[in-house]
Amino acid sequence: MGPKRDASAFILPVARLDELFAALRSRGYACVGPTVRDAAIVYGDIEHSADLPRGWTDDHAPGSYRIKRRSDNAYFGYVVGPHAWKKYLFTPERRLWQLQRAGAKWERTDPPVEVQKYAFIGVRACEIAALQIQDRIFTGGQFVEPNYAATRREVFVVSVNCTQSASTCFCVSMDTGPEVRGGSDLTLTEILQPEHCFVVRADSERGDEVLASLDLDCARSEHSHAAAVGVDHARRQSRRLETAGLKDLLRRNSESPQWQDIASRCLSCANCTLACPTCFCSSVEDVSDLSGDHAERWQRWDSCFNPDFSYMHGGEVRRTTAARYRQWMTHKLSTWFDQFGSSGCVGCGRCISWCPVGIDITEEARKMREAEGVQS
């Protein structure tokens, strides 16, 4: 008997990482994942492993995000960037249709539903939770978003277990991470000891097939142990959102003076909604050309922080920043349950890092809870 082996976990040496991308490409997948651009780790096209943020990490704090060099060559040694995977499934802007007026007739051109076959590289556990939330929104109701549905069905998820957390992370309290549990095709855990490699597990038939084609060695117990230690390390998070009774807390506090306090800081800039992996609001814009005979409708991401968002005859319903922030936070943590059966927050911390004034949703929820305790 040789060293103890884990029959379901395999070892992908870093030198063979490109073979994984090649295997996915040969199956028709366009690989997209983390890459360094404009001093941030964002999602873009991944041709080979050199495109990944090797040797980079990120520092997070309320209102602050910086990437910096690591002392090692870890490929996934960062936490989350400003991008979310939603940009591939529910694109930031999309032409819905075109109309050409010809006499008393309209000729409509509907864009074909274009299905891009993506392999998402480096999806975190909290991001899988976000994908599953958006699945319920766009495909789980009475009406289905056809582009989302068609593209999502094809996505091959290569997830990565987190082995570190940022100060803004609170996935543990949201029960969404840091370890991937389902929703993945292949799950990697990057370890640096006993040697720099990936512990790989297949979590679907598609994943099994790709994994088998790579013909990897089984993981030894020290590999599996190192992976488990890494995930345990990521579990140590100082930030948490107390979820017990949170839905009702927000529901009860629609008239809390705290909304005014938040509004005195909030710029109503919409950064939190754009960075949030579950925010899904969109608007449409109707345009025509100079002849007046050609018209188009475009769908674009929108935000409940935009004044126009609630516009009706007579003006905006939510005129104040207090009302807009209340809408966002109450929707995310409370009414989302009524609508989609879960919280709208996955604990990724993006809204905290990318808020220019560092408003922290966990802190605001805590203060609201405390204020109630003082009153009662």
Partner: protein, 283 residues
């Protein structure tokens, strides 16, 4: 790498169908009723009273507008709308023969059939009579199924009353029609005051009546209170709500009122579901 998925194109819910405006009726200074027939490729529309369509003015934009016509007449579609914004002004300027984009019908409806056998009280404020008119037509077609029926209607001024030519026919069919205006000149011989004050004049059995209301939120809030004071329980009161809408299919997020999507959960709600929400400012 991109492939066409023909199977899902059929589910595209955001494409307006062309209808042809056949008649334009100027109701008031700024309210117009459009009658339209299906254009090429558009099918007649089966709808229920209280439902709405997204109406599209070519190159300008799209707005949610309740259907104001008779649900029994599928071949024609009738909408009554006020010119208040960019899109509604363009729609109100349409002429017979012009094309209009329509998609729908969307949303919940007045549960008029479920409330057969009861007295019915309809409370309308201003343009809010338009979404109630399909319910009135339904009652007229099935008058024997309902007990007392009262329409309590308030407008700002006498010349802003909608459908005055139909009041006599409605009265002849045994519907009590009570009118009030907020402001009137010396020629006005009717009541002056808010619509809430009409409720006590309504001839309906308070404990056997169902109420359908459409108008400004503040009006519906006070009217609901007055109905309750007089013995109509909130679970028998239904209101039609309004918010900004872009998609009308529960995906764009614009029309949220607390947990409710006005477009798919409403626009018609049983009052208990929205009563608390209606009291929260800027929700």
């Amino acid at each position: 790498m991109a492939s066409k998925a023909a199977d899902v194109i059929g589910t595209q819910p955001l494409l307006p169908q062309p209808w042809v405006v056949s008649e334009v009726t100027r109701e008031t200074d700024d309210v117009v009723t459009l009658t339209m027939d299906p254009g090429s490729g558009a099918a007649p529309m089966v709808f229920r009273p209280g439902q709405f369509n997204m109406l599209y003015a070519f190159g300008v934009g799209e707005v949610p507008i309740s259907i104001s016509g008779d649900p029994a007449h599928e071949a024609q579609l009738i909408h009554t709308l006020r010119a208040v914004g960019f899109v509604t002004r363009a729609l109100c300027a349409l002429q017979p023969g012009d094309l209009i984009g329509v998609r729908g019908p969307y949303g919940s409806h007045w549960p008029i059939e479920q409330h057969a056998g009861r007295d019915i009280v309809l409370v309308a404020g201003g343009i809010g009579l338009a979404p109630l008119r399909p319910a009135i037509y339904h009652i007229l077609s099935h008058r024997d199924r309902y007990g007392e029926v009262a329409l309590l209607y308030g407008a700002r001024k006498p010349d802003e009353l909608l459908f005055p030519d139909e009041f006599d026919a409605w009265r002849k069919a045994g519907i009590q029609v009570e009118i009030t205006v907020d402001n009137a000149d010396a020629c006005w011989e009717g009541r002056v005051g808010v619509v809430t004050t009409l409720i006590r004049h309504g001839r309906f059995e308070r404990t056997a009546a169902s109420a359908f209301m459409c108008g400004p939120e503040v009006m519906m809030r006070f009217a609901a209170q007055e109905l309750e004071n007089q013995g109509v329980t909130p679970d028998k009161v239904f209101v039609s709500m309004e918010r900004n809408m872009k998609c009308a299919i529960g995906l764009c997020g614009h029309c949220q009122l607390g947990p409710e999507f006005i477009c798919t959960d409403g626009a018609v709600f049983a009052l208990p579901r929205v009563q608390r929400l209606m009291t929260i400012r800027e929700l």
